[in-house]
């Protein structure tokens, strides 16, 4: 069977299956096995793409090239580790009485369906389908965010739904405008939304329409990325949903939304050679970065704080892609990878920490090192990594972004550094007092799954010191494609 079909089918089928059997004893394992299957098939698919080059599937509906295949692997990988993490985590939640069996079922099936929508959004060649998949991803995650059915989680989910729904509606308008522009070149065939076709004719697309379309797409998908001032749903959704959901929201959903913008940017750049799209993205990126950094300093809830940190990093990545050029794109892609891995690792650690201490309020979390050194170190190292401390890989990408900015947009560097400095001061001070110090916390019934945390951090560490040549080549190709 085709690896690609397998990759899409596994989460879809298992998601359906889990809606039925999700409360069984072995359901978490099924969840893990399915994620493993997805990951393995994505890895195989990556191998094929590296060996044979880009390919299509289902006619021209799906398209896999070096840009999305790396995100696919990343998504599948983080999905796998999250499923491993969520096993004991969700069991603990259930035993704390926060979740019923039905909700557990809902969680698992929605998790798999969410993975399906992510993978579909990444691999589709049709910008319309991309929109559909993004919207579907919103719907599945809305259910995941509101899983606890507490007032706060309902509020968060409501805001998430309305804001992202409105945002994504604008993206649809942008897509329609794009279609409108493409139709004039490609004719009234069904191909006018196929990205591969559009790329070939991107120079002929009508500039005024493309400018409008890109604005709508940027505002639309940008809401999902968490660009300021469209980000307001993000901290709520991250803070109130179950932690595995926060991990995949931060680690995957934001990436995929940014990926959607990137695909559109390629087209907009073709039609508007003046760097219109790039400048917009740079502006949004900087604004996001600075605002998030200042938001960080006043947080009380640990998951909220890391949600803002995600916003901050998305701002940085958007800025990097906005700068354009192979080096900046390379750095952006690298940063995307690093951020996904690190942030999800942090959320895993945060999940355990909040479970152990029974609170998300940072002032009440103390002495994690004494509760459980592994969680403490995981959170500490993860935080240092996300703050851009070498030798972790986030530093490598930040270094590249900063140096590139210094070269081409020197005016932006002080702003970037100010934001990074403020973020450092805000996050580190809080995390340090949580990790260190005294505590009286109890043991948990289920031992935490620590492997995902350290697996992620180990990869991030390794990539900070050494990026293997094939990965470099791969990133380079993808970076060139974004242009």
């Amino acid at each position: 069977m085709d690896t690609f079909v397998l990759m899409l089918a596994i989460p879809l089928v298992s998601g359906m299956l889990l809606t039925v059997v999700g409360e069984r004893e072995w359901a978490p394992n099924l969840n893990i096995v399915a994620s493993l299957g997805t990951f393995l098939s994505s890895a195989l698919l990556t191998g094929e793409i590296i060996a044979d080059g880009p390919r299509m599937a289902f006619g021209e509906m799906f398209f896999i090239d070096s840009l999305n295949v790396f995100l696919v692997t990343l998504t599948a990988f983080v999905g796998l580790t999250t499923s491993i993490f969520s096993g004991p985590y969700m069991k603990n939640e259930q035993e704390h009485g926060r979740l019923t069996k039905g909700r557990m079922r809902l969680y698992k099936s929605m998790f798999q369906l969410f993975m399906f929508t992510m993978l579909a959004a990444l691999t589709t060649n049709n910008l319309g389908i991309l929109w559909v998949a993004m919207e579907a991803a919103t719907l599945t995650t809305v259910l995941l965010v509101s899983l606890y059915r507490t007032p706060a989680s309902l509020e968060a989910a409501w805001k998430y739904f309305i804001l992202c729904g409105v945002g994504i509606a604008q993206a649809l308008f942008g897509t329609i405008l794009l279609y409108f522009a493409a139709e004039r070149v490609l004719g009234e065939t069904g191909n006018a939304l196929l990205w591969t076709r559009l790329v070939d004719v991107k120079g002929q697309l009508e500039p005024t329409v493309m400018a409008l379309a890109f604005i709508f797409l940027l505002v639309g998908y940008g809401t999902k990325v968490g660009l300021a001032p469209l980000h307001n749903w993000l901290p709520d959704a991250h803070a109130e949903g179950p932690t595995p959901v926060s991990a995949v929201l931060s680690g995957l959903l934001l990436n995929v939304a940014l990926y959607a913008i990137l695909r559109c940017k390629v087209l907009a750049d073709g039609a508007l050679p003046g760097g219109f799209a790039g400048n917009l993205m740079m502006g949004f990126g900087l604004l996001t970065l600075v605002m998030a950094a200042f938001f960080l300093s006043r947080q009380k809830d640990i998951k909220r704080m890391f949600a803002y940190s995600s916003i901050e990093h998305m701002g940085l990545i958007t800025f990097a892609f906005g700068m354009g050029g192979v080096v900046a794109n390379f750095a952006g892609l690298l940063h995307m990878t690093m951020h996904s891995l690190t942030k999800s690792a942090i959320f895993f650690a945060v999940g355990h920490a909040t479970q152990k201490t029974g609170t998300q309020i940072m002032e009440n979390i103390r002495g994690l090192l004494r509760i459980n050194p592994v969680i403490g170190w995981g959170l500490m190292l993860g935080t240092l990594a996300i703050l851009g401390m070498p030798p972790f890989g986030v530093f490598a990408s930040e270094f590249m972004i900063l140096t590139h900015a210094m070269k081409h947009h020197p005016w932006a560097t002080p702003v970037l550094l100010l934001a990074l400095g403020v973020a450092f001061a805000s996050i580190f001070g809080r995390v340090q007092s949580m990790v260190f110090g005294e505590t009286h916390a109890k043991r948990l019934p289920h031992a935490p799954a620590i492997t995902p945390v350290f697996l992620h951090l180990a990869i991030v560490l390794a990539l900070g010191l050494y990026i293997p040549p094939y990965l470099t080549r791969w990133f380079h190709e993808a970076a060139k494609m974004i242009g």
């Binding site: 500039p207 400018a211 307001n232 938001f295």
Partner: protein, 669 residues
């Protein structure tokens, strides 16, 4: 050729340190194995590193490229003479500290010994890599690893809130400094995108951008070195850390910042502008004076030493400033003199400050007490530590015949011969700087007398000090090693200058080596014997001889009888240990004379007090003038910005609506 180069050997040493650290992680709770096997092995590696650097000081520069790092910027490494001087410092000083650490760490709370061992050796290895790095990325990675590992070492005993605060402040300022350094590197590439140091050297910067790069480097490296006004972390972090770590940070890590400053201002930036030197001079002087004044009024022995480190860094930076001035005016002979003073002071400060910090470690172990007000008379219980600490004290007050004097002497010589400068203003400023240095040196004496006299001499201020015990054999060995370094540097300055001369020559094209060597190994005469000379060995021999002869003659002519009786004290009866000066009392004159320099919070007892008491708290002006306003400003901005997240969904929708409308109306391709 598969010949083993010194740089390869150093890399192997770095890996060996890492391996030692990881071995500690393998058995994190096995204290015996870690302290009696791993730390000595680490010390051996340090010895190897020092010897290798000594060897490579006579060799040509070596380079290496490691296949790790960024795709288009692998780790470039380079071992030239400047690097070698500092590697030598790292190697030899770390020997003493590692040996000491073998006997220092005990079972107890805080970080597990294995983890400590890992952090410590990662710290060592990353300092080595900082010195070897030859591109911005490798440098930054090593630099931040160094900051990170030392941060974890500082927060070993993280249950105390003030230690956590110290660690936070330390890492924050280190990080901000790193950002400044990175910016400086960025300016130095001047848009070429080549982040290797070779690429930066090749750039010809305009004076404006070169100055920007220099100032950024000064701020960045100053933040690590403890220059004003980014010094605030230092007096917090040093006392918080375990003593070997304080010793390592103060002795070696601060010097890596000096190394970076030297690397940037002399090597990467090419010819300096004269006013860079003036800036460094001014900042250095302010730092030195500030450091020494605050060190005299401290009541915590490690804080006192930490401020003293600030002072010494200030002196080193003064030397750098002087070198820059001379170098800018192409007076290479005098520049070489000042630069030699810089190197010498780096070496000697590394030796004596580590020694003193380790001595405080022993005191801390023996008494569990850091506050000077609760110590006293420890020379009776800890003679080894006391006498070895005396070596450090004399060296650090800059008195002959030990190491501190040589560097101060060289520095003052540099000042004395400055009137040849073509700039009249400078000619006026430089002597005043010399006066300030003289004042600093004398005040350092005050601080050190306070430090030594109150800890080791007099009567014991607390009962439990009677149970104090001397340092163990490992600790003694470490202290002796560092004291030997102090003697070596103090007594054989010509030989030492001959060794480090290569680095001076490499940076300035001129050195003191030939002239010094002409005079013979016992005599130090950097210009000529008529102008200035110093023979520490003969100096010492004369004093020792007169002491010996004096003693013999007195004994022979008269007698050697001794009786014991209570102290006379002008017939004053009340002679308890409480009658001695407290730490605060000792420094009262300084507080009084330099009152505006301190922010004091005093409570005086009044006649009606039920329980009269007197307290005095001395605080740093910079904290209130600089840091608090900045923090307030940041808080204010973030307060404004967080208003955006008001919780009302309609408002959120309006944000995206307005964004859309504005973009539609404003954004035009």
């Amino acid at each position: 050729m598969t010949q083993l180069l010194a740089i390869d050997a150093l890399l192997i040493a770095a890996c060996a340190w890492l391996a030692v650290g990881l071995a500690g992680l393998a058995a994190p709770r096995n204290l015996r194995f870690i302290s009696k096997t791993l730390f000595p092995v680490g010390a051996l590696v340090g010895l190897g590193v020092g010897l290798l650097a000594l060897f490579s000081l006579g060799q040509r520069p070596e380079t290496a490229v490691l296949a790790i790092g960024l795709p288009d910027l692998p780790f470039h490494l380079r071992l030239d003479k400047l690097t070698a001087v500092f590697v030598m410092l790292l190697g030899f000083v770390s020997v003493g500290i590692s040996i000491y650490a073998a006997g220092y760490f005990r079972k107890g709370e805080g970080t597990a010994p294995g983890l400590l061992c890992l952090e410590y050796h990662v710290f060592l290895a990353s300092m080595l890599m900082v010195l070897l790095a030859d591109d911005a990325y490798a440098f930054m990675v090593a630099w931040e690893c160094m900051a990170l590992s030392s941060f974890f070492l500082v927060t070993t005993d993280n249950r105390h809130a003030e230690i956590r605060r110290a660690g936070y402040l330390y890492l924050l300022i280190a990080h901000l400094g790193a950002i400044a350094i990175l910016l400086s590197f960025g300016v130095m590439t001047s848009g070429s995108g080549d982040y290797s140091f070779a690429g930066m050297r090749a750039q010809e910067l305009s004076p404006f951008w070169a100055s920007v790069a220099y100032l950024l480097a000064l701020v960045g490296f100053g933040a690590k070195a403890g220059l004003l006004p980014v010094h605030v972390w230092l007096p917090e972090a040093h006392p918080a850390a375990p003593s070997p770590v304080s010793a390592m940070m103060s002795g070696v890590m601060l010097k890596t910042a000096i190394y970076g400053l030297l690397r940037v201002s002399f090597d990467l930036l090419g010819t300096p502008l004269w006013w860079w030197g003036v800036v460094a001079l001014a900042v250095g002087l302010a730092t030195a004076l500030f450091g020494v004044l605050y060190s005299t009024v401290q009541s915590d022995m490690k804080r006192l030493l930490a401020y003293s480190s600030i002072e010494n860094i200030g002196l080193i930076v003064v030397g750098i400033g002087l070198t820059l001035i001379f170098h800018a005016y192409k007076m290479e002979g005098l520049a070489a003199l000042a630069l030699t003073a810089v190197f010498y002071h780096c070496l000697s400060h590394a030796g004596f400050k580590s020694l003193l910090f380790l001595a405080t470690g022993s005191v801390l172990h023996a008494t569990k007490e850091r506050s000077l007000g609760k110590l006293g008379g420890l020379i009776h219980r800890m003679p080894w530590v006391a006498w070895l600490a005396l070596v450090g004290v004399i060296a650090s007050t800059g008195l002959p015949p030990l190491s501190g004097f040589v560097s101060e002497w060289l520095l003052l010589q540099g000042f004395l011969f400055s009137p040849g400068l073509p700039h009249p203003w400078l000619n006026m400023v430089v002597p005043i700087a010399a006066a300030v240095i003289a004042l600093v040196a004398a005040l350092a004496g005050f601080a050190m007398v306070k430090f030594y006299g109150i800890i080791f001499l007099g009567q014991m201020r607390e009962e439990n000090l009677k149970e104090a015990h001397d340092a163990g054999p490992w600790e003694k060995a470490g202290l002796v090693w560092l004291a030997l370094i102090g003697f070596l540097l103090g007594l054989f300055p010509s030989s030492v200058i001959g060794v480090i001369d290569g680095a001076t020559k490499q940076m300035l094209g001129a050195g003191l080596g030939e002239r010094v060597r002409e005079q013979g190994w016992w005599m130090l005469a950097p210009i000529s014997a008529e102008r200035a000379s110093y023979e520490p060995l003969i100096f010492l021999v004369t004093i020792v001889l007169s002491v010996y002869l004096g003693k013999q003659i007195v004994r022979r002519l008269y007698h050697g009888r001794v009786r014991r009786s209570p102290a006379w004290d002008c017939g004053y009866v009340f002679q308890s240990s409480r009658a001695q000066d407290t730490a605060e009392g000792f420094s009262q004159p300084i507080r009084r004379i330099f009152e505006p320099a301190f922010r004091m919070d005093r409570h005086f007892p009044t006649g009606r007090d039920e329980k009269p008491y007197y307290t005095v708290k001395v605080e740093d002006h910079f904290w209130h003038w600089l840091y608090v306003p900045v923090a307030r400003a940041a808080e204010f901005v973030s307060k404004l910005i967080t208003r955006l997240q008001g919780g009302r969904i309609s408002v959120y929708l309006m944000y995206s609506f307005l964004t859309l409308i504005i973009l539609l109306l404003v954004a035009r391709p």
